[in-house]
């Protein structure tokens, strides 16, 4: 198997030359930016709201044991079955166990990144169940047998023509260029699935400790249908999703909507506190909540980067990231892409295998500036780089930096190096951009400045 870093570089090489992709993503994200800025303008004070949100998340994460236990107990009080999973394998086993015990055949799913994280669909399909993604974007990428491109906009890399061709091939529908018609094709296909599905699976955006509720944010109504019609409902939720109080949502729901999609509020924000209760008209007979760790506790144990667990998965950092905009979501090869993915993937899947994502950043800080819960994202990339080189330094890099320090701390030697540079410059022009050029990674696309005859220091000494 090729190293993840080589795969990343290879894909990046191809996609950064794909001007159609570049244009598509830029256009989509420009629309987002305009909407987001308009909504942000409606806030009394966006910066203060960010601080308030960060402080609530800080409270929740730094007392996670208390809030998580409260969340689980409150849910159980009203008849919800709460399951705990340390590993993805455990989570899959729990969910498959529930499905099996219900003799279920078909499963309807609403968007859940945690399910992507544990490759739940693969496991269910392998076990012989029919699983249908109901969120339109997820439905599209599921038909394409590829992972979501973006945590909020799963199909943003596709045009209407791509989708029309896909539906024609997979669903036998007539080709169309109307997004509305395409949406209706999916609506009709999925309606039948809701009615017949035995089990509904969802994720959750928040877990409310005070009242024992999960909260789901969506625009399409697919999660509401998933939580209304099937007899069994399963919600998979990461342990970091906790908020202390129900009313905290008064802050988090508008912030998630604004940062995530440039909306005042997302179409449906729904809290579920249990299965159908006595005296209630409808709803699932059984409600299962599966709490997933999957190395979140390891991230929790790193106080320097603990705030990465504040993440509400709004995707705002992806939307402003110039790296993401140029390489796109799939190049990362991870469940979570963009800056937050580059920060947490080394913790979730191994530092040495995934440190290249932290290196593949200009550290511009646009992510940190935009994050609604003030995660110190780009500085965490620096910390990942430091941790990686402390753990397993590259001999070549270390030698180079030691040599540089030796040189730069000796003014005479530094002066000599500059003079050598000037002497060698004409020689470099002969090999520039070729395989012999030691600066090839720069010069294959960019010119180098020519060295002036006198450096600043020489001028200063002689003035």
């Amino acid at each position: 198997m090729k190293a993840f870093v080589e795969e990343f570089k290879e894909q990046a090489r191809v996609i950064t030359r794909d001007l159609r992709h570049r244009g598509l993503i830029q256009t989509a994200l420009r629309k987002y930016e305009v909407a987001r800025d308009r909504r942000k303008g409606a806030f009394g004070n966006w910066q203060m709201a960010r601080q308030a949100a960060a402080e609530i998340k800080y409270e929740a994460i730094n007392h996670l044991d208390t809030y998580l236990a409260e969340f689980a107990d409150k849910l159980m009080d009203r008849g919800t079955q709460v399951h705990w999973a340390t590993t993805p394998a455990q989570a899959r086993e729990i969910i498959l166990g529930i499905i099996k015990s219900k003799n279920a055949k078909s499963i309807i799913k609403s968007k859940a990144m945690t399910a992507e994280e544990i490759h739940l669909n693969d496991a269910m399909e392998k076990a012989g169940y029919e699983v249908v993604e109901s969120d339109l974007g997820e439905f599209i990428v599921q038909l394409r047998r590829e992972p979501p491109y973006h945590i909020v906009f799963p199909a943003m890399h596709l045009t209407r023509d791509d989708i029309s061709a896909l539906f024609e091939k997979e669903l036998g529908s007539a080709p169309t260029r109307e997004p509305e018609e395409l949406t209706m094709i999916a609506r009709r296909a999925l309606r039948k699935k809701y009615i017949t599905a035995d089990v509904g699976i969802t994720g959750a955006n928040f877990a409310i400790a005070e009242t024992g509720m999960i909260s789901i944010t969506e625009n399409e109504g697919n999660a509401r249908l998933t939580a209304a019609l099937p007899k069994t409902m399963i919600t998979l939720v990461g342990i970091e999703k906790v908020l202390p109080k129900l009313e905290d949502l008064a802050l988090f729901l508008p912030m998630l909507a604004t940062a995530g999609a440039g909306q005042t509020l997302t179409g449906y924000n729904t809290m579920y506190g249990g299965p159908r209760q006595k005296g209630e008209i409808d709803g699932p007979e059984e409600f299962h909540v599966v709490l997933l760790d999957n190395r979140r506790t390891e991230l929790l144990a790193d106080p320097e980067q603990r705030d990465a667990l504040h993440c509400i998965r709004c995707g705002a950092c992806l939307n402003v990231c110039p790296i993401f905009k140029n390489v796109g979501g799939h190049t990362y090869g991870t469940t979570y892409s963009g800056p937050i993915g580059s920060v947490i993937t080394p913790h979730l899947r191994g530092l040495q295998d995934w440190k290249h994502l932290s290196n593949a950043s200009s550290l511009c800080g646009a992510c940190t500036e935009t994050c609604p819960v003030k995660i110190d994202l780009h500085h965490h990339l620096l910390q990942n780089r430091r941790n990686a080189s402390e753990q397993e330094p590259s001999a070549l890099e270390r030698f180079a930096y030691k040599g540089f320090a030796f040189l730069i701390n000796r003014p005479g030697l530094y002066q000599f190096a500059k003079e050598m540079g000037r002497l060698l410059e004409p020689l470099h022009k002969m090999v520039k951009g070729s395989k012999l050029d030691p600066a090839r990674s720069w010069t294959s696309t960019r010119d180098l400045p020519s060295m002036p005859s006198q450096s600043f220091k020489e001028w200063w000494r002689n003035r």
């Binding site: 570049r22 140029n326 950043s361 511009c364 930096y401 730069i408 696309t445 006198q454 220091k457």
Partner: protein, 238 residues
């Protein structure tokens, strides 16, 4: 005021005119300028690559020398961020921690120093051209410098400032990133250049020579007529 001017290594060897312009401006304003011979680099390349120990080897002499300074003006937002923001982090829990914390408030990026510390915006400069300003990320986000360079440019006679779309988006330089991931860095630079070109400007101006080196490198390869220039060079032009 006695000003210690820190001319970072790449400005020293590749863009001496930027440093010379700064000396000219500061002296014209009546200040005494010193440029210590023993200070050459802030140590950022090693720091950004994760080699903090090797970076400290470069940074310790800098810290030792600049301790004595009354005020330090630095010719790059990026190197400024290194001294002001990252030294305290890199030296935390070392014997240099206190020195790093003491130095931080004395460090100024050049344009910020003129506007916020000296309260000067009009330097009597002339530069008859249409320009667009690129915000270097470290100056913008680590140091919070957005208005100062624009206030200075507005007072330059004959100069027309046009904002480009996404002026705050990174040009793709990012230090060693440009060499480690040249394909991404180049794509980001191309986006930056095409945004700058939509303004019809003659020059892309910045307060960071490192961004300009990257942008200029792409522009000359594309044989684009648009040129790059450091803010100090414009301000020193009369």
């Amino acid at each position: 005021m006695r000003i210690t001017l820190f001319i970072p290594c790449f400005v020293d060897s590749l863009y001496p005119n930027v440093g010379m312009s700064m000396v000219k401006i500061l002296e014209k304003l009546g200040h005494q300028v010193e440029c210590p011979e023993e200070i050459a680099c802030c140590g950022q390349p090693a720091f950004n690559s994760g080699y903090w120990e090797e970076s400290r080897a470069v940074a310790e002499p800098v810290l030792a020398r600049l301790r004595q300074s009354e005020v330090v003006v630095i010719a790059s937002g990026s190197c400024g961020a290194m001294l002001k923001v990252f030294y305290p982090q890199m030296f935390a829990k070392t014997e240099w921690a206190e020195a790093a914390n003491e130095l931080s408030p004395k460090v100024w990026e050049f344009s910020d120093f003129l506007v916020s510390k000296l309260g000067v915006t009009d330097l009597g400069a002339k530069f008859p051209a249409k320009v667009t300003f690129h915000d270097g990320c470290h100056g913008l986000r680590e140091l919070g410098i957005k208005k100062a360079p624009r206030m200075l440019l507005e007072k330059v006679s004959g100069l027309e400032l046009v904002e480009m779309p996404d002026a705050e988006t990174c040009c793709g330089f990012g230090g060693t990133f440009a060499a480690k991931f040249p394909m991404i860095s180049t794509a980001m630079g191309e986006v930056k250049c095409s945004n700058a070109q939509t303004t019809g400007a003659d020059y892309i101006v910045s307060n960071d020579s490192s961004c300009l080196m990257h942008v200029q490198g792409l522009l000359s390869r594309q044989q684009s007529p648009i040129k790059t220039i450091h803010l100090a060079e414009i301000l020193a032009n009369s």
